[in-house]
């Protein structure tokens, strides 16, 4: 046997062992643990939110005693560093090296979109309870990317715009962080508010991580508007609310916020300056619903803080996926079946205290709560619902087809028809 022949033979032998080994591996995996890859920003700009995401997942797994459908759950946590390139690399590691059956998580839209684009190629089920980019359940839907217990950015500001109009507000100005999440939330409010006969007087877009809001607040104060809508997250939200109060605008012009502006992750550190801000969301930790109350109490007992949207969303997202896996009897290996089952599963027993189902585009339909920040008996602030819009679609009252023909919300398109 010459050398070339030898090489050929051994290559063939190698390949044969490889092929033969694969089914054996598959058979073993069936009885092994369910491997769930959790991507969360544990470092970088949104690290505090990332930690609460992990808490939310672990809180659920504690509740489920680390088992779903009789199979042990192995949770593999990776840090996406708030950076899309890192997120992509970590997703690859979880799928290709960690052999995770599914991925869940990510906080920033850019990290989520990067991972979504990757799993489009691999077919791995990817659940996004936090990533709010509208188009993931609208114009650029990917079948295996499912927004369990999540929300699309403009879904809650549509009813909020309607509510604001019904309060008799005629003129509103918005101020927002200048990125897609902000464009979409403001767009939702602006479109419905303007179509209801209101006027969006001016819109301010400021870069992420703005330390000083005085140039904006000065202009906002002079606009003579009936209300101001602020779309802020994280440290920006904290600073904006503080400076809004110290500028003397609190109590003078009503402040409406995006859900994330009055999230626990923000108002936990604030005092009375956050009192009275109104925002729209699916979850209100101060709701009088007994299921919500129990969740908030248990979470507070365990982590000694009131749950934020991050903790709540990841907890409910895990619950949703787990209920689908229960239905399947734990067979997570069949991805298509898993995806179909999740899409058909209706979430019961979540902290919302109400059954939630997905629409035809993979986005949950919620009752949207208009929430107000009030002081609790022990001096802490939380969001209490003051009005409810039942069963709100991500397309509001529009026809989905027509709605998706309009361009996605951006700085230049806010859903307002040019006159």
């Amino acid at each position: 046997m010459d050398r070339r022949q030898f090489l050929k033979n051994s290559a063939a032998a190698f390949a044969a062992t490889g092929v033969a080994a694969a089914p054996w591996k598959g058979a073993l995996a069936q009885s092994g643990p369910i491997k769930i890859g959790l991507l969360a920003p544990l470092t970088g700009v949104v690290a505090s939110g990332g930690k609460e995401m992990v808490e939310g997942v672990q809180f659920y797994l504690d509740f489920a005693k680390g088992e779903i459908a009789g199979r042990k759950v192995e949770l593999v946590i990776e840090d996406d560093a708030s950076n899309p390139d890192t997120a992509l690399q970590k997703a690859r590691r979880l799928v290709e090296q960690g052999n995770c059956h599914m991925l869940i998580g990510d906080l920033l839209a850019n990290t989520g979109l990067a991972v979504a684009n990757y799993v489009k190629g691999t077919g791995t089920p990817y659940f996004i309870p936090i990533i709010a980019a509208d188009d993931l359940t609208q114009r650029q839907r990917i079948r295996n990317v499912i927004r369990v217990a999540g929300y699309s950015a403009s879904a809650f500001t549509h009813p909020f715009g309607d509510w604001a109009r019904k309060q008799g507000y005629k003129k509103i100005a918005t101020i927002s962080q200048d990125y897609t999440f902000g464009h979409e939330q403001c767009g939702g409010l602006a479109q419905v508010f303007a179509e209801g006969g209101g006027e969006i007087v001016q819109q301010f877009w400021h870069p992420l991580n703005t330390a000083d809001f005085s140039p904006y607040l000065g202009q906002l104060a002079d606009l003579k508007v009936d209300a101001i809508f602020a779309m802020e997250t994280g440290a920006d939200a904290t600073r904006f609310i503080q400076q809004y109060a110290s500028f003397g605008l609190k109590g003078k012009i009503p402040l409406l916020g995006a859900m994330n502006a009055t999230d626990q992750s923000v108002i936990r550190t604030l005092g009375e300056e956050c009192e009275g801000i109104i925002a729209a969301a699916h979850f209100a930790e101060g709701s009088d619903n007994p299921v919500t109350q129990k969740f908030t109490r248990d979470y507070e007992a365990k982590y000694s803080k009131i749950p934020s949207l991050y903790g709540f969303s990841m907890y409910s997202g895990m619950m949703w996926v787990a209920q689908a896996i229960e239905k399947l009897g734990g067979k997570v290996e069949d991805r298509d079946l898993l995806i179909d089952t999740v899409l058909k599963t209706e979430l019961t027993g979540s902290p919302l205290g109400k059954t939630v189902k997905l629409d035809a585009y993979g986005n949950p339909i919620y009752d949207v709560q208009i929430r107000k920040v009030v002081k609790r008996a022990d001096g802490k602030y939380w969001n209490v619902p003051i009005a409810t819009y039942p069963n709100v679609s991500q397309f509001w009252t529009y026809d989905p087809e027509t709605y998706m023909k309009q361009p996605p919300y951006s700085r230049s398109f806010q859903g307002i028809k040019k006159t």
Binding site: Q97, A109, N110, A114, N117, G121, T180
Partner: protein, 307 residues
């Protein structure tokens, strides 16, 4: 090229080509990334190691190429090959602009100027939302159908990296490359010998930008995705660090540096989320104990033994 170095090069290539047969898919992905970043580090080394100008703007050139590749294929609907060519052309054009402005300076001023230019590109990518997708970046299926599998793509990148590395090696050893060395060692002497120093530096910068563009186009195909973090300062710094870890002025050290950093990043981040701290400490140690980089230090040890 001596007989021995040819044999060495062939041996390294053979090992590199055989790697995918031994590694898992994920590791093949890492190896691909190492090759791509190796090319980026080498392109920076052309300027830093041979012309004495360390650029902090190459991440931007690299990223622009990536943006153009994704935009051209996903939005404009061009074929992957055409997108690739356009990406490299765009990167070269950016290098022309950077070069025109930056070659007048040296030392810390060159560093700051390239940094500032890179920040401008980053700012444009972040704020020009209609075209660049802003914070979200651009996505698309950029890879040619033929190269969708990890292995096929790795081999394609290996071929590209080999060709490009050879070209860079020829470039720095050419008479023109030697003039760059002369400029590094003494600008005034080169000028008094009658060389047009600015022009030579400019050409050196553009050539280096071209190679960074090739790396960027490959990276866009690897990720099928590009975002402002690809053009950010951190990307430039990473390229420079890879070059330094490998060894300034060693050219092929770029691959070693890229391999060391990417491998370390992955190994350490599996154990702790504080991997950046570990990376930082490692750099400090490299600077103290092996200031010539990994290749430089190995070379020094070998020559000491040879004597």
């Amino acid at each position: 090229m001596t007989g021995r170095s040819v044999i060495a090069a062939v041996a390294v290539l053979a090992v590199a080509a055989a790697l995918p047969l031994l590694l898992s898919n994920y590791q093949v992905g890492l190896a691909t990334e190492i090759l791509i970043f190796g090319v980026l580090a080498m392109s920076i080394d052309i300027l830093a190691g041979f012309a004495g100008r360390t650029s902090l703007g190459h991440g931007a050139i690299f990223g622009v190429s990536g943006y153009v590749v994704v935009y051209a294929s996903a939005q404009a609907g061009l074929s992957p090959a055409a997108a690739f060519v356009f990406g490299v052309i765009a990167a070269t054009l950016v290098a022309v602009i950077f070069g025109t402005i930056a070659v007048r300076t040296s030392g810390v001023y060159f560093l700051l100027l390239t940094l500032a230019l890179g920040m401008i590109v980053w700012g444009i990518c972040l704020r020009w939302t209609q075209v660049t997708g802003g914070e979200n970046g651009l996505r698309g299926d950029v890879r040619p159908v033929l190269l969708v599998s990890h292995r096929a793509f790795y081999w394609a990148v290996l071929v590209a990296a080999t060709v490009v590395s050879y070209a860079m090696w020829r470039f720095v050893r050419s008479p023109f490359g030697l003039t760059l060395l002369g400029i590094r060692d003494s600008e005034s002497r080169m000028r008094s010998l009658g060389y047009n120093v600015s022009l030579h530096l400019f050409i050196g910068f553009v050539v280096s930008g071209f190679f960074a563009g090739v790396a960027g186009a490959l990276y866009a195909m690897f990720n099928n995705f590009v975002s402002p973090s690809t053009v950010a300062l951190a990307q430039s710094v990473e390229g420079v660090l890879m070059m330094i870890a490998g060894g300034v002025g060693t050219l092929f050290g770029g691959f070693v540096g890229a391999a060391a950093i990417i491998a370390l990043e992955n190994a350490v981040s599996a154990y702790t989320e504080r991997w950046q701290t570990v990376l930082g400490v490692t750099f400090i140690l490299i600077m103290i104990f092996a200031p010539e980089g990994i290749i430089g230090t190995l070379r020094a040890i070998l020559t000491r033994k040879g004597r």
